[in-house]
Symmetry: C2
Subunit: 194 residues, 2 copies
DNA sequence: GTCTATAAATTGATAGAC
DNA sequence: GTCTATCAATTTATAGAC
């Protein structure tokens, strides 16, 4: 018989987050019940509430920590050439997206299910990430290394293009990661007129 | 007092579809109840079932008719120069996306809530649309008018980039539609090496 | 920390009157 | 075609035992 009692707090906490992230990404926040999460984790529904005050907080924490991780992981080198910085950004964004596909998917799919205060917080973090790319583009224009009509729109367009890899990438598919980065870098370089 | 009885079938049918599309796009399919749709339409929940056998059929019909509309609306001119065809595609895709933002959003957001048979059908229609762009890119490469490393990936990348306008466009914003098309066409043209 | 049990509300869908 | 009323299942969240 399986365990029916006893504490496993050291693994249950992270497991709840991992499980919720996967199920939310696959079926949508509203479509996944706390009972489904609990069943996949291997606990009863009531046990979840020792880790999160409610379902909304679970979603907010997932999106919040994802955006924090993303911002912490990106390190620009303002001293390098703008084109080299852009290439690094392309490589970073694709790698991060493929390493955390569920979190990336969630963070732009479930914004609408956040309460206003949480929505504002996540949107602000996203704005900081976009500003990081926009700064590269503006420096590239200033240095004469890029030709860009509208840096703000180009930022959004490039991020949408790069994030799109999560929609079709499958491990072991036709193209490996380096090849994908190479192709997208060619597209991005052309788009900025370099 | 408001009407509490009587048939208004000629307007209720389309109204249910319009309302469901808007609410599904805003809050997500699973998050919207049949009662909420009915209330927004101005009927009681039971009345909806005179128009749709169930909630799933309502979603399927919305996605199906959107993809049909999209395919019907796009008319390529295989005799024209590849770059001119691509420019027309960019203009068309952006215009269609901004004219039907909810339908576009739904059609790539709620695929996961379709039953397998419905999912396969919608995905096949989407494949036909992608093939239309890919044909232009291949012709452009063959004619020496474009330099593209991978036409398939470039197709997906361009569509993701163009569809992204629905994420930030607001009527009466900083840029009008013609200007947006102009900017995105510049990005697309550069991306394909023209 | 986890369980069992349950409260209170909401869900998709149906039946039958008009 | 629409309404009212309702069923059966499911939902989030809580209370109290262990």
């Amino acid at each position: 018989m399986a365990r029916t009692q006893g504490s496993r707090a050291h693994i249950t906490g992270p497991l709840i987050r991992d499980t919720a992230r996967r199920l939310f990404a696959r079926h949508g926040y509203a479509a996944v019940s706390m009972r489904q999460i609990a069943a996949a984790v291997g606990v009863q529904a009531g046990a979840l509430y020792a880790y999160t005050p409610d379902k909304q907080a679970l979603l907010r924490d997932l999106l919040d920590s994802h955006m924090q991780d993303l911002l912490d992981a990106w390190r620009d080198d303002p001293g390098a050439a703008p084109l080299a910085r852009l290439e690094r950004f392309v490589r970073f964004h694709i790698a991060f997206s493929l390493d955390h596909p569920d979190a990336v998917f969630l963070s732009y799919m479930e914004l609408r299910n956040l309460e206003p205060a949480n929505f504002a917080r996540i949107t602000a973090l996203r704005g900081r990430y976009e500003a990081a790319l926009e700064a590269i583009l503006r420096d590239g224009v200033a240095a004469g290394a890029m030709r860009i009509e509208d840096p703000k729109l180009t930022t959004l367009a490039l991020i949408a293009m790069l994030t799109g890899v999560t929609n079709w990438y499958r491990e072991g598919g036709r193209l490996d990661r380096d090849r994908i980065v190479q192709i997208y870098w060619g597209l991005a370089r052309g788009a900025v007129g370099a």
